[in-house]
Subunit: 233 residues, 2 copies
Amino acid sequence: MTIPRFARIKEFIVGQIEQGFLLPGDQVPSENQLLEQFGVSRMTARRALQELSDEQILVRAQGLGTFVADARPMSSLLEIKNIADEIRARGHNYHCDLILLDAVTASAQQAMDLSLAEGSTVFRSVLLHCENGLPLQYEDRLVNPVLAPDYLHQDFLLQTPNAYLSEVAPLTEADHIVEAVCVEESIALALEIDSSQPCLKVSRRTCSKRGVVSFASLFYPGNRYRLGGHLNF
Amino acid sequence: MTIPRFARIKEFIVGQIEQGFLLPGDQVPSENQLLEQFGVSRMTARRALQELSDEQILVRAQGLGTFVADARPMSSLLEIKNIADEIRARGHNYHCDLILLDAVTASAQQAMDLSLAEGSTVFRSVLLHCENGLPLQYEDRLVNPVLAPDYLHQDFLLQTPNAYLSEVAPLTEADHIVEAVCVEESIALALEIDSSQPCLKVSRRTCSKRGVVSFASLFYPGNRYRLGGHLNF
DNA sequence: CAGTGGTCTAGACCACTGG
DNA sequence: CAGTGGTCTAGACCACTGG
């Protein structure tokens, strides 16, 4: 199986971006430059640039050139955002309390969430993420120990579980369920809300190439958080 | 401004699908057939099929042909689904109560939601969508009268506002906000829930080329509905 | 003006599928 | 085998942008 030439050109450009040689806004080689550089026809060079443009990695403008797109907007609703980055992006103070970090024996439900056998040992972390001292997200996470064996030895006050897991097991897929729920007393207490207050619950299962990495239950006080999204047709 | 040939071929095929001449699973003309039919080069015929395939309207298989894709999956999280279709797709009974349909004078908030001036006359509809007799969605919708002048004369027991508006003002954009809330007594009563029950609230602003068409506030009982989504990386 | 991307042609060779 | 889609070439003319 040989890699097509247009794909090689795409890889070359993506590589330049990932290695930091090309930054958002930078102009990438034109069709004519790629044509000479790779010894291909213009249609082939064009296809590489066009597909990267379709993938929103590049933007093209007639008469001007082709440029690296601004910070990957991910565009889809319910992006996988790092809660710490999100809070800091608002110019607010972020901090985090570690409530639990341990290995546990998976219940039937937990095993199913991670696609493992009941009774397997899995890792579990519970964290409370705060914005300007006010609890914003209660994160109860199960982790597949095979795919993140060093999970229990991380300092999650410095790096969120989400960020850590993205490093050790790059995400390929994610499923979400969004619900409005009442939370149990212990979670209400941690979130500093009355237990009658509605909360937004996001259940997220994330997968890498090697399988289900993690299953997170995220609880947000209904009066402090909303999910936004934008669609284009 | 002349329409490119590949775009004409795309329109032709999409038209055949929309008019029901081509059904999901049906084979569409091959590159060679389109080439003769439209008198274009193969690269041009190919581009039409390839782009429709990228848009998930067609699926292609080497050696086999090109086929109409199964029921548009829309793929994005929080797709704009027709609640009636969604309920019927589950094999359940759908029906709908009309609670209000009238012209109203826009409050400051309502005017902002529709990007109109305060005090403008706008249309408002309130409907209750039920699954097997049980209320599932309370829909409170504001409509821009300029973009849907006949809105008040529709029978929304036959066609949802969403479906009607999509016809008269094709959507180009949509914004969503998802929240967990408590609802006021009147809405709780309509939804047949206790007012202490958390609800999922989806606020959706939809736009066509000519501007903001509609602003809908959708309330779902937290224990009867959840939003799901899937992302690929 | 020279350079960019947008559209298009008329060919070519290939891998794949079904009969 | 004939037909399909996948890749690719070496040209062409065009609209658009900046200088």
